[in-house]
Amino acid sequence: MELQLLLLFMIFAAVVAVEVKDLLSSVIAVGAVGLGLSLAFLILKAPDLAITQLVVEILCLIILIRATIKKDMPLVRDGRWFFNTISTLLFIALFLLFAYFALKELPCFGQPTMRVAREYIEKGLEKTGATNIVAAIILDFRGYDTLGEATILFTAVMGVLAVIRRAGRIKDEK
C-alpha cells in the first residue's frame, strides 16, 4: 500500500514539476520525484539502487540548477497549440489504453518468473565470491555491460568537454 502512496506522490510531484511557472521550483519538484524514486527502491528491496539514485539525484540537481536562469515562458494558446495538445493527449491516452490491456499478460506484481535469476542467487556466492549478488552480476556475470556503462560516462564527459569548447573552428586569417 505504501508503494502506491509513494507512486501517487511521485506523480503529483511530476505534475508540479511540469506545470509550475518558476523554473527553480520545477527543478526542486523533480528532485522530489527523484527522492521518491530512491525511497521506492528501498521499499522494493534494492538498497544498491537507492544509494546510487540518491547521489545521482543530488548531482543531477546541482547540474540542473546550474542551467536554470530564468522563469518559464508565458503560454501562447493559438489554434495550433490547442490542436497539438489534443493530439498529444489522444496519443498518450491510446498508449495507456493499449498498455492496460497488454500488461494483463505480465506475471502478477510480486511474482516474477526468475528463470535465469535463480541461478545467480543460488550459485552467485560460490562462483564469484561476492556476497552482494548485484555486484556479482554487474561486475562478473554481466561485466561486459558495465564496461559499456563506464564507456557511456566516458563518452558523456568527452562530449561535454567537446561541446563546451570556446571556438569550434579555426578561423581563416583574412
Binding site: 493499449f98 498498455a99 490491456f101 497488454a102 500488461l103 499478460e105 505480465l106 506475471p107 516474477p112 518468473t113 526468475m114 528463470r115 535465469v116 535469476a117 541461478e119 545467480y120 562478473d140 556475470f141 554481466r142 561485466g143 561486459y144 555491460d145 564496461l147 559499456g148 556503462e149 564507456t151 557511456i152 566516458f154 563518452t155 558523456a156 568527452m158 562530449g159 561535454v160 568537454l161 567537446a162 561541446v163 569548447r165 570556446r166 571556438a167 569550434g168 573552428r169 579555426i170 581563416d172
Partner: protein, 496 residues
Amino acid sequence: MKILPFFVIIPLGTAFLISLLGKKIKSLGDILANLGTLILLALSLYSIRLVDAHKILVYKVGGWIPPIGICMVLDGLSSFMLVTVNLVSFLVALYSISYMEKYTGKYKFYTLFMLMLAGMNGIIISGDLFNLFVFLEIASISSYALVAFGTEAEELEASFKYAVMGSVASGFILLGIALLYSYTSTLNMADISLVLSEKGSSLLVSFIAVLFLMGFGLKAALVPFHAWLADAHPSAPASISAMLSGVLIKVLGVYAIMRLFFNVIGISNTILSILMFLGAISMLAGVILALAQWDFKRLLAYHSISQIGYIVLGIGLGTPLGILGGLFHLFNHSIFKSLLFLNSGAVDYSLGTRDLREMGGLKERMPVTANTNLIASMSIAGIPPFNGFWSKLIIILACLQANRFGYALCAIVGSILTLASFMKVQKYAFFGKLNERWKDVKEVPLAMRLSMIILAMICIIGGILLLPIFRPFLQSAVDVLLLGKGYAGIVFGAIQ
C-alpha cells in the same frame, strides 16, 4: 575463434589512449584512429572467411554459458554489417586527417569517433538484448556530441533536437526491454526467441513490437519520425555526416529492426506490411522534400530518408529476393551516400559555402571532387552500370514478384525524382560557368582525395564485378533473416 571481442576492444582502447595522450602528441590521433580502423577492416574481412567455414560463431564473455552470461554472436548478417561499417569508417578516418584540421580539439573528435565506432560494432556482434541497448546508447551519445562539434548556433540547435528525440526513443526501447524481460525472464536474444515461441502470440508481444518499432524507427528516421535527421546530419562535420547517414542510422535503426523482428520476436504479416508502408512513405516523402533544397548537405540528408525507405521496403517484402535487394542497397547506400557527403565536405573545405546557387563550374578547379561526385550521383539515381542501379532493380523486381505493383511504381517514381534532384546538383555545382569568386580555388589535400577515389572505385566495381562475387556473402546474410526463429536453435547449437 577469439577475434570477436576485439571488434569492441580495439576501438575502445584507441579511444581511451587518444584521450589520454592526444593532447600532448598531436599526430597520435591521426595515427591511432587510422591504424585502428584499418585493423578492424582487416578483421571484418577475415570474419567473412570465418562465417564461411563455421556458419556461426558464439563467444561467451567471461566464460559464462549464455543465458547466465552475455554472448557475442557472429553470423552472416553480423559479418555483412561489420564489413560495411568498418569499410566506411576506415575511409572516413582517412578523410578526416586533412578535413578536421579546420576544427579545434581534433583529438576529442577522434576519441568520440572511435567511441561511436565501438558502439556500432558492439551492437552488431551483441547477442544479448540489454547489451545491445547499452552499445546503442554509446553510439547515440557520441553522435549527439559529434553533431554539435562545430559549436555554432545551428549545430547546437540540431544537436539538441537530435538528443531529445534520441533520448525519447531510448526510453521506448528500454520500456520494451523491461516488458520483454518480465514476460520471458531472460535477456539473451536466442533464449527470448525460444520462450516466445513456446508461449505463442499475445497482445503483450504486439505492444512490445510497437514500442520497438517506435524506438528503432526514430533512430532509423522512418517517415513519421524523420524530422530530426534533416537538421542533425547536415550540421555535423562532413566526415561525421558521412558516418551518420552512411552507417549509423542503418546499424541503430535498420539492423536492430531486422535482428529483433526477424530473429527474436518473429515476423508476422502485419509487421511486414507496416514496414513496407513506412518504407514506401519515407521513400517518396524524403525525395519530394529534397527537391526543394538549395543547401548541398541538407539535400543529401533528405535523400538519406528516401534511401532508407528503399532498404526498409526491400526488407519488408519478406521474400528472399526482396531481402537480398534491401541488404545490397544498404551496402551500396552506405558507400555512395558517404561519398556524396565527403564531396560536400570537400566543396565546403575549399569554398566555405554549402549553397548550391553560389557554386558553379567547379569541374575545372576541383576535378577529383567533381568526377567522384558524378559517379556517386549516377549511383544514387540508379543509372545502369553503377551499383545503385542493381540494388534498386532487385528491389523493384522483388516487388513485382510479390505482386506489389503499387510499391514497385512508388520505387520507380522515387528513382526518377532522385535523378532529377541530382541533375540539379550537377548543373549548379560542377558544370556551367565558373563563378569569378572561385577563380583560385584549389583541389583538396591528398588524404581527402584518396578516400573519395577509393569510394568511387567501389561504386563502379560494385556495379559491374562485385555482384557475382558478392552473391555468396550477401546470401549468407539473407539466410540469417530467412531463418527467422531458427536463429535460436543455431545459436544454442554453436554453444556446445
